[in-house]
């Protein structure tokens, strides 16, 4: 599903974010990306949806070299990749249901599809009762559930989660992890960057560790350290 071949990314000619990194992720896998801040986790993710371009090496998503993708096709790549962030990135002036529906509207989904899909996904993440609330009326965990609903409503092949539990307390984090695990079980490949040791140790999934831009460990059913 994802393949990186000898990828190097240097910011502004001096900051080495990734150095000759190679990695392959199969369809349906759940992968933790761990490592200290600045080790290249976010760059790894940003390369996958072409927010960044590698300086050397190639990136394949779903069997296609995305370096060869013309820029007008990038939006179509991104429709296959859901993104979840530490800071949720919800639109504050839209309700929960509008935030999720927005993701479908902007890719041109018919209204009938939006009407059936949005309540279903909100049911899945457990927010059916707060559909018409605004993000600032929700707890952090609930906001992250909305953000996951938005990322997943389009049934992407891949879900990228950049420290999705970074702002949440341990209990809420567990709830989010349960949700991501459930999404993974539907066949969606999940890549999650995290600093949360207890979660990684508890889930026992594949762990890829980065250190100063290099992949220093790749372990199935691994732990944080």
């Amino acid at each position: 599903m994802i393949r990186m071949e000898n990828v190097t990314k240097v910011y502004k000619g001096e900051v080495l974010a990734l150095q000759n990194a190679s990695c392959e992720v199969q369809r349906g896998e759940f992968v933790f990306l761990v490592g200290p801040s600045g080790s290249g986790k976010s760059t790894f993710m940003r390369l996958l949806n072409k927010e960044e371009k590698p300086d050397r090496g190639r990136v394949f998503v779903a069997g296609r070299d995305i370096g060869k993708l013309p820029s007008w096709k990038v939006p179509f790549l991104r429709r296959n990749i859901g993104c979840v962030f530490q800071d949720f990135k919800l639109l504050p002036n839209k309700t929960v249901v509008q935030n999720v529906a927005f993701a479908l509207e902007v890719i041109g989904s018919p209204r009938s599809v939006i009407k059936s899909k949005v309540p279903a996904i909100l049911e899945l993440v457990g927010l059916s009762k707060k559909m018409h609330n605004y993000p600032d009326e929700l707890s952090g965990g609930e906001q992250q559930r909305v953000s996951i609903a938005r990322a997943f409503v389009n049934r992407p092949l891949i879900l990228l989660a950049d420290e999705p539990t970074g702002n949440l307390d341990p209990n809420t984090s567990l709830g989010i992890m349960t949700l991501l695990d459930r999404i993974n079980r539907t066949g969606t490949t999940v890549v999650m960057a995290t600093h949360d040791r207890s979660i990684v140790d508890k889930m026992r999934r594949r762990v890829v560790e980065l250190d100063r831009g290099q992949i220093v460990r790749d372990q199935s059913r691994g732990v944080y350290e």
Binding site: W72, F76, R78, N80, I107, G108
Partner: protein
């Protein structure tokens, strides 16, 4: 991919509500810029109209001998009618002469001096086909040699002075109009960019979930179009007011030179609609350019 009209309308309506101050700022900017530009263009038109009237009025004047016989006068008239170099002429009889000539050339002492009230000659005010000063002089000289002609006065000096003045004015007005247009475009671009900056999060999310660049751009461009249209429509009455101000200039007797400094009302309307169109174009294109900065290409 289909862009849905209801989506575009809904987004535009909500953006108007949410960014009401910036929307107003954009509309006011568009209105002021278009009003100034429209006024500048109207001013140019008015200058044209004022000087055209002057050019029409005087080229050279053939003054007949006060004791001229009717036959000789008819002879001069026939020559004027037959000459291919004369496009038209007006006969001013003795009674009309003094008042008429003084009204027309009140600012030109060299002519007024020639035509004293004691001597009221009849005259032919001639419009040659070729208005080049040298040609006018040549033609005037031909009539000067005619029997029964007392004097031929060319108004070339006066005409030249007026033409210099008007072409200078016109040039300045065109320069001002261009500067205003550029300023308007930059202001609109900047205002739209500020509005977009306040909504960069929306754009970020749209990119994230895979909206195409055009899908992101179109609601913003539609918003710019509506703002440009509103700004242009408000500018119409303001341009109309400017035209009324011209008639104030007209009534000011000290500005004798600019008599006829006015513009046809239909021209004001045409210009108004042109300004609305320009506002729509600048608003749409400005938004399109401004939003591109926030899209990755």
């Amino acid at each position: 991919m289909s862009l849905k009209l209801d989506y575009v309308l809904r987004e535009t309506a909500s953006n108007f509500r949410r960014n009401i101050t910036l929307t107003l700022a954009t509309i006011i900017t568009v209105t002021i810029s278009l009003t100034l530009l429209g006024a500048a263009l109207l001013f140019g038109d008015a200058v044209d109209n004022a000087t055209v009237r002057w050019k029409d009025g005087v080229e050279f004047i053939v003054f007949t001998d006060p004791e001229i016989s009717p036959e000789l006068e008819a002879d001069i008239r026939r020559q004027l009618e037959d000459s291919p170099e004369v496009s038209g002429f007006t006969y001013i009889d003795k009674d009309e002469a003094y008042a008429e000539v003084q009204d027309l050339l009140g600012d030109s002492p060299e002519l007024v001096e020639v035509i004293t009230p004691e001597r009221l000659p009849a005259s032919f005010r001639v419009k040659p086909t070729d208005t080049l000063p040298e040609r006018v002089d040549e033609l005037a000289a031909a009539f000067r040699a005619q029997p029964g002609v007392a004097r031929v006065v060319t108004a070339s000096e006066t005409i030249r002075a007026i033409e210099d003045l008007s072409s200078g004015l016109r040039q300045r007005v065109i320069i001002i109009a261009i500067v205003l247009l550029v300023a308007a475009a930059v202001l609109i671009l900047n205002t739209i960019r500020m509005a977009l900056f306040s909504r960069r999060r929306d754009i970020e999310v749209m990119k994230l979930v895979g909206a195409t660049n055009w899908f992101i751009r179109v609601p913003f461009m539609f918003e710019g179009l509506v703002q440009g249209l509103i700004g242009g429509v408000i500018a119409i009455p303001l341009i109309w007011l400017t035209n009324n101000f011209f008639s104030v200039i007209n009534d000011d007797v000290t500005l004798e030179l600019l008599r006829g400094f006015t513009v046809d009302p239909s021209r004001v309307w045409t210009l108004g609609f042109q300004m609305v169109g320009l506002g729509a174009i600048v608003g749409t294109v400005g938004s399109g350019i401004a939003v591109t900065r926030f899209l990755d290409t």
